[in-house]
Point group: C2
Chain length 180, copies 2
């Protein structure tokens, strides 16, 4: 797992970084190749089209998501709090891949839209296994999504008005968890 990164891994990593930090428009194959330290032709040997590059990012998301679901299931505070808390975190593998695929989806990439739907549905399912009230679970899910949507704004990485007083916000989530 910690073997020297293959060229393919370096390219995907560069592509994901470009998507997160510079936006979808800036994440061209040429810029990705330069950031990965290879030439355009070298990149195209590993990923014959831009579509395959996007597929690589989606596969990375699924892999990170699978690992995170284990953590979310067994979180001491419960899945709901874990979910909202991690919605404001950045830097982890899952966050990087999620934001990268979100950028692709926002740009109109259909497979990315479908992949995000799948991931979010599995989050909602897990929260609903903890929070019996269906609509309270949805409200909690939406708070997490709202937080993520805010941090996903280009330029304003986590500099939002929320997030700072996260613990206070989590108390509101607790109120939703405790049935009416």
């Amino acid at each position: 797992m910690s073997r020297p990164p293959s060229a393919k891994e370096k390219i995907i990593d560069a592509y994901v970084s470009m998507l997160c930090n510079e936006g979808e428009r800036a994440a061209t194959m040429e810029a990705t190749a330069a950031k990965a330290g290879v030439s355009k032709g070298g990149l195209l040997y590993h990923f014959a089209s831009k579509e395959l590059l996007a597929q690589g990012a989606i596969e990375g998301l699924f892999k990170s998501h699978e690992e995170d679901m284990e953590l979310m299931s067994s979180a001491p505070e419960g899945p709901a709090i874990y979910f909202v808390r991690t919605s404001t975190m950045i830097g982890g593998d899952l966050d990087r891949y999620f934001l990268a695929v979100l950028r692709l989806a926002q740009g109109g990439h259909e497979p990315s839209v479908i992949a995000l739907d799948q991931v979010q549905q599995s989050w909602l399912d897990l929260i609903r296994s903890e929070v019996s009230d269906k609509y309270a679970a949805e409200a909690i899910m939406l708070i997490g999504e709202g937080l993520y949507y805010q941090t996903s704004m280009p330029g304003s990485w986590s500099t939002g008005t929320f997030g700072k007083d996260l613990e206070h916000l989590l108390k509101q989530v607790q109120r939703l968890k405790n049935g009416s």
Copy 2:
């Protein structure tokens, strides 16, 4: 106000529609001109650059927002419920402009990021004038943003899992409004 639409208005309307329905990448000047029924040169007479086209969309947002703030202030159910309810609505002027500017912001357009910040701040201010608990107000705001972020997915205009049972979700908002 209901005079025959000028070419300028037709162009802005076409541009906003392209942004909403096809995404930022597809909203090229050529495609916008075609949808507005003019040539590329004709478009460039009214908007000498793409940046000016984006400014037109932002101005449309501010104009619609100003009118909506009056409705939100005087809504019978109160600003908070009004806000969450209208987060799932599509087709109105405000929603169209907001989504269009959101697409620009997600693509990295800084003036759009700033414009959205202003609009959202004014919403939060109004909600906080009704909901005294600061963090309950933030939670309500995030629910509305989460709903909007969901409907803003290209292709899946309002076909999300929420929104259908909006009245049930609004009961959760009511719970947040009534202090703990």
